[in-house]
């Protein structure tokens, strides 16, 4: 019996050894692309949506013959929505999987943690949804497929002034998230420039569940609208507690709200709120309609902005690889930097000299448990 189990153990270890050997030979054909994503944790829908979008795009690209005669292969590494883990995930993908390009993260804080690794290893990285300006400032290998916070913050400040005629504005932001801090800052500046007034400026920490103290202070300042540039998890709780305190003015936000979870957690409390984001699923653009149709067939449910951005991010990468004509890091970087008028589902994308995508934003209104297209705000 002992002999038998020893024999089994030897067999198992031989199998394991041969398994490892096979992998290290890296004879697998294809171009490996890494995706750093929050597949679990506080902002899990961001990572999952982006991953679905990326994988759908890659499937379509491969079905059409791949790029440079090879299929694309996506390896996803979960960072559990934790900032420090994003760095580790990027390291793993770069060193273990030898990826040719890195996609991700959605959240700015986590992209900022991962980007230095990509820059150091000279692996081109494209973030689908990080809107904080600092992300691409990390280096010349870091790109993004979305607009940036100064634009998004200004969009909502102008929207509040022009559409809602709101003069007195309150802010409630998450001071632990670069995204939220940045958005609040640009919103504040634009409001002041346009002659509005910030009557309350309150903050919270990601993970908080109790916001009644800040909301009571905001209520006392009697604002016309409240800007809450946070992520969907906290927003749902904030909305509910605001309604309980009898706050009836609309809450405004950014693309951090763009998740089915906003509707699930917020329920009736989020009705009548507005937020800026990258695309509207109910837009009449045929390109968007086609994308929504195929996504729904594949995964069920309506794709949110992160799914659309993930889809475009993979598309931009494939486009860059084709123009580069090789997977060489320098050539790929230069090709990505020259991306011009790429027709994505989130709009016509041109990469500017700061490696940001220039494109329009849309404002969505929440009503009756659904997001509705409300306005397009152009980039110019």
């Amino acid at each position: 019996m002992r002999g038998a189990s020893r024999a089994t153990a030897t067999a198992v270890s031989l199998l394991l050894a041969s398994g490892c050997g096979g992998e290290s030979k890296k004879e697998v054909p294809g171009i490996t692309v890494g995706h750093v994503a929050s597949m679990t944790g506080d902002t899990a829908t961001f990572g999952r949506s982006a991953d679905q979008g990326i994988r759908m795009a890659v499937e379509e690209i491969n079905a059409a013959g791949g790029v440079l005669g090879q299929p694309l292969r996506v390896v996803t590494e979960d960072d559990r929505s934790v900032t420090e883990e994003a760095r580790t995930a990027a390291q793993k993908l770069i060193q273990r999987d030898q990826v040719k390009a890195l996609l991700g993260e959605v959240a700015s804080s986590r992209s900022l943690a991962a980007a230095p690794e990509a820059q150091r290893a000279h692996v081109p990285m494209i973030s689908p949804g990080s809107t904080n300006p600092k992300v691409t400032e990390v280096g010349d290998y870091i790109f993004r497929a979305c607009f940036i916070d100064p634009f998004q913050g200004a969009v909502m400040a102008r929207f509040a002034a022009n559409e809602l005629k709101a003069k007195r504005l309150a802010i409630l932001f998450d001071f632990k998230q670069d995204y939220s801090v940045g958005l609040a800052e640009f919103f504040r500046d634009t409001v002041k420039k346009n002659g509005g007034e910030i009557v309350a400026d309150e903050r919270y920490t990601s993970g908080d569940i109790e916001f009644r103290a800040q909301l009571t202070t905001i209520r006392a300042a009697n604002p016309d609208a409240i800007f809450v540039p946070g992520y969907y998890t906290e927003l749902g709780l904030i909305a509910k507690q605001a309604r309980e305190l009898g706050i009836t003015v609309p809450l405004l936000g950014g693309d951090g709200w763009d998740s089915e979870k906003t509707l699930e957690i917020g329920g009736d409390a989020v009705n009548g709120y507005f937020f800026s984001t990258h695309y509207a699923a109910d837009s009449d653009n045929p390109r968007v309609q086609e994308f929504v149709k195929r996504f729904t067939e594949k995964y069920g449910g309506t794709p949110d902005a992160m799914a659309a951005l993930g889809y475009d991010t993979a598309g931009i990468l494939a486009d860059g690889l084709k123009r580069a004509g090789s997977t060489d890091a320098v050539k790929l970087r230069d090709a990505l930097a020259q991306t011009k008028d790429y027709e994505g589902v989130t709009g016509k994308i041109t990469i500017d000299p700061q490696r940001n995508a220039r494109k329009d934003a849309v404002v969505l209104k929440i009503d009756g448990g659904k997001f509705h297209y409300y306005r397009t705000v152009s980039a110019d």
């Binding site: 679990t40 899990a44 919270y204 569940i209 800040q214 749902g236 709780l237």
Partner: protein, 300 residues
């Protein structure tokens, strides 16, 4: 003024959750001189038990007071059993091992429950089903009282009154006080010390479970690590009130909730978490017995 009253109300509601958790710390400390650091995780398990019970029994989609009561009862029973099991498995074998070993074990149990929680429930936050439709109930000037806040407050007060009754007016309560006063002497008088200690864990865990449900009701986001911070804060509340003192834990919890809310409302939420630990340090330096604790003389 209205604004201040609203903040006070917010603080008391928030503090009543701390108070319920703090009671478990203080009772266990009373009978065992043990800081049960796994207590925050019992609170997490209470919320999780409530979440699954509400979904299994179909209360998730249909808010009703009956649903709340049933879910609360199920969760309290489940956590009562969990508390008894923790005591039996982790602490009782170490009863005579001095004070350091059980303390380290408590931290171990806490980590075990956190990680088991992540494994079983998943690391993603879950959204506690709305067992009550939230709406504004009362309004005095600008002070809005929602039915949720009122439910949290009333439930917490009823549970605390119930506990006070058990401790002061029942045989079990008397036995508990006797063990707390002098365990060996109580044993000599025929008090079943083991059973009393187990009962204390059950009571404390039931209150923590109730706190979990009430948080699910008023702040409906739950996850396996949710017990960490409230656990520490409730510990501070227990020390603030005087660890070992039941009314002290109630007062300490409410006071801490009010202080945190006022600090967030009038200064900045940046200091919300810091203030609790500043209080802990100040109390330990200047009044280690807390607000309600009697000064202790060491036995020779």
């Amino acid at each position: 003024m209205d604004n201040f009253l609203q903040q006070l109300l917010n603080g008391i509601t928030w503090g009543s959750i701390y108070a319920l958790i703090a009671l478990g710390y203080t009772m266990v400390y009373g009978v065992l001189r043990l800081i049960n650091f796994a207590h925050g995780e019992v609170y997490m398990m209470g919320a999780m038990a409530g979440y699954y019970a509400a979904h299994a029994l179909g209360f998730a989609g249909a808010p009703s007071l009956l649903g709340l009561v049933v879910v609360l009862a199920i969760s309290m029973v489940a956590c009562g059993l969990l508390g008894a099991a923790i005591e039996r498995i982790a602490y009782r074998p170490l009863r005579s091992a001095g004070r350091l070993a059980p303390l380290i074990t408590a931290i171990g149990v806490s980590l075990l429950l956190q990680n088991t929680g992540q494994l079983v429930f998943g690391a993603d936050p879950k959204f506690f089903p709305p067992l009550l439709e939230s709406h504004e109930m009362l309004r005095f000037g600008d002070v809005a009282v929602s039915n949720i806040q009122l439910t949290v407050l009333i439930t917490a007060l009823l549970l605390m009154a119930g506990l006070e009754f058990i401790v002061q007016r029942t045989r079990f309560g008397r036995a508990m006080r006797a063990v707390s006063y002098d365990a060996p002497a109580a044993a000599l008088m025929g008090v079943p010390v083991d059973r009393v200690i187990a009962g204390t864990f059950v009571l404390g865990s039931m209150l923590a479970a109730a706190a979990g449900i009430l948080v699910g009701l008023s702040n409906p986001k739950i996850e396996p690590l949710m017990g960490l911070m409230p656990g520490l804060k409730a510990f501070v509340a227990a020390v603030l009130g005087g660890i070992g003192s039941v009314p002290g834990a109630m007062a300490g919890g409410l006071l801490l909730g009010v202080i945190e809310t006022l600090v967030t409302g009038y200064l900045s939420s940046t200091y919300r978490d810091a203030i609790a630990f500043v209080i802990l340090v100040v109390i330990l330096l200047y009044r280690p017995t807390g607000l309600f604790g009697a000064p202790q003389t060491d036995k020779v």
